[in-house]
Amino acid sequence: MSTPQPPMPQAAVPQPQPQLAQAPAPHWQSAPAGSYPTYTSPIPVVRTHLGHAIASEWTKIRSVRSTMWTLGVFVLLVVGIGLLAAAVVGSSAGETDLAGENPLSFGFFGLLLGSMCIMTLGVLTTASEYGTGMIRTTMTACPNRVRVLAAKAIVFFSVAFVVTFVSALLVAFADVALLDSSGVRDPSGSEWLKGTLGISLYLALLGLLSLVIGSIIRHSAGAITIMIGVVLAPLVIALFMFSSSLEKLREALFEYSIPNQLSVFYSNSLTESGPSGWDPLWIMLGVTAVAFAGACALLEKRDV
């Protein structure tokens, strides 16, 4: 409060006095000459930083039903479908039908369907605040807009990754045990890593991309629709590309579609074209980083 008092535009107006004869407040500052009395709180002042924003976002994400719902359905889908697929295939397959198969790959369908839940939660983390108007309260409490988005990203990514990783790990162990007698091969160490850690990081990043899209679109239903389109559209478009002159494009659409990228985490083959190995993770990381930068720029530019 030591800033010099600038000249007041309406200095001619007589100063009204506070008219209440209430008990004097305990924290009057003795005002220096030329300044004015002001209230000083007894609560210690803290310089806010990213840690505060993260604590706040953690409270937010754990205190709404939609988090429990989306993650609950996610675990149900991933574990349920993962086990079911292995059980059905395992029971109907002969001794050698599955020879040489990677047993971890039976987790694929559950994770593909479950990705819808993760994307929904990601979108809701940002976009729902625009729907309710909470975003204005949030941005008033933390005017550093990039810090808010970063805190949301960190909290969401951690939650999404942990839940996905635990579910994927569970399914992986169960499927390996279930299919033990069906002649499948033992996955190698790198296959284990890709099929559990890799795919979990990939899904959490896909959720993070949804969160960023939610921040850009500011509308939950719109952003979720866009993300579902991103997942499904390339496959659907590729299906309807009959013309042979578009063969190359069709192949690329298929290979870089998100479902195919997911399957890469279970495949051992190094195909001559398309992503292989850990490529999908780097692709998703790049796309998300670019989208995040764009969202930050937009956040700074637009009104809340």
Partner: protein, 317 residues
């Protein structure tokens, strides 16, 4: 202290706030008055760094809002009571705000107690009535025990008890040396709570004055007269050098006239009077006159007579 300098906000073609310059001073309640759509909420959003000004500047104790290191400790604001996630409990809503500014958890219980929501702290906000939502919003504003408080139309939709509570709260906050900035579209409300008055219409500054001065300048007193012998009465009054205004409803008004004087004149000329009453123009009328040209949404039938009852409330209290 909040200083606005040439603050302007344009949404496409629409100029919502037009070159506003005024200062909100500490230790008093400053009323921010304007009809619906005048630009009050937009101005407040710019003060809080939510909307970027098209031109001009607004500073809080010399700094931009987004340069404040401890914003909730500095300013508490209630913009929109519904601006919260309905599925979150009152306690958790306040807790996430407190955490974002490193405010101790104990403060949440304190402010819940201050606004009287302790009993429903664990209840979801979507089940709250308008008044409870408003109280929760105010709890959020008080959370950081800030030196500046900003309320956007806080009494909207409240019951009389809630309105009374908010009035007293604002006065006691200002008495503690805090800056209180409160908007309203009701003059009657401002007359009760504000020490200083800033009036805007269509985004432009119309008045920046102390409440006392505003009342003094705008409480016009006049005498209202009704008579079946209207033409004769007019002649007599004109003859006595008294200026008469004819109002729509068949009544005559004499600005600043004394009823005794007019009554005696009428008696001398044996004119029958049906009404001879001293009147005080309400502040609401003064406000309406001030903003007459700048009202965004006009109703079609408004005679001043009918509108008067609307502003009478402040006198009774």
């Amino acid at each position: 202290m909040i200083e606005l300098e040439g603050l302007t906000k344009r949404y496409g073609e629409k100029v919502a706030v037009n070159n506003l310059t005024f200062t909100v001073r500490p230790g008093i309640v400053t009323g921010f008055l304007g009809p619906n759509g005048a630009g009050k909420s937009t101005t407040m959003r710019m003060m809080l760094g939510l909307d970027r000004p098209t031109a001009g500047d607004v500073r809080i104790d010399g700094r931009h809002y987004d340069r404040l290191k401890d914003p909730l400790r500095y300013i508490g604001a209630l913009l929109d009571a519904k601006a919260m996630h309905g599925g979150r409990s009152a306690f958790n809503h306040l807790l996430c705000l407190a955490q974002s500014n490193g405010i101790p958890r104990g403060r949440v219980d304190e402010v819940l107690d201050t606004v009287g929501l302790t009993a429903v702290a664990k209840k979801k906000a979507k089940g709250f009535s308008l008044g409870m939502g408003q109280r929760l919003g105010i709890a959020g504003a008080l959370l950081g025990d800030p030196r500046i408080l900003m309320f956007d139309e806080p009494v909207n939709g409240l019951d009389p008890e809630g309105i009374h509570w908010i009035r007293n709260l604002m006065k006691s906050l200002a008495a503690q040396g805090r800056t209180v900035f409160v908007s309203s579209h009701l003059m009657s409300e401002m007359a009760l709570t504000a020490d200083h008055l800033v009036v805007i219409g269509q985004g432009r500054l119309l008045a920046d004055t102390s409440m006392a001065e505003f009342i003094e300048q705008n409480s016009r007193s006049y005498v209202r007269i009704r008579s079946p012998q209207r033409e004769r009465l007019l002649d007599v009054l004109h003859g006595a050098g008294i200026t008469v205004v004819e109002t729509g409803a068949g009544a005559l008004e004499v600005d600043g006239g004394k009823p005794e004087h007019i009554g005696e004149l009428a008696a001398q000329h044996q004119i029958v009077l049906h009404e001879l009453s001293p009147q005080q123009a309400s502040l609401e009328e003064a406000f309406m006159q001030l903003t007459a040209e700048s009202v965004e949404y006009h109703a079609h039938t408004d005679t001043p007579e009918e509108q008067q009852a609307w502003g009478d409330g402040w006198k009774g209290n």
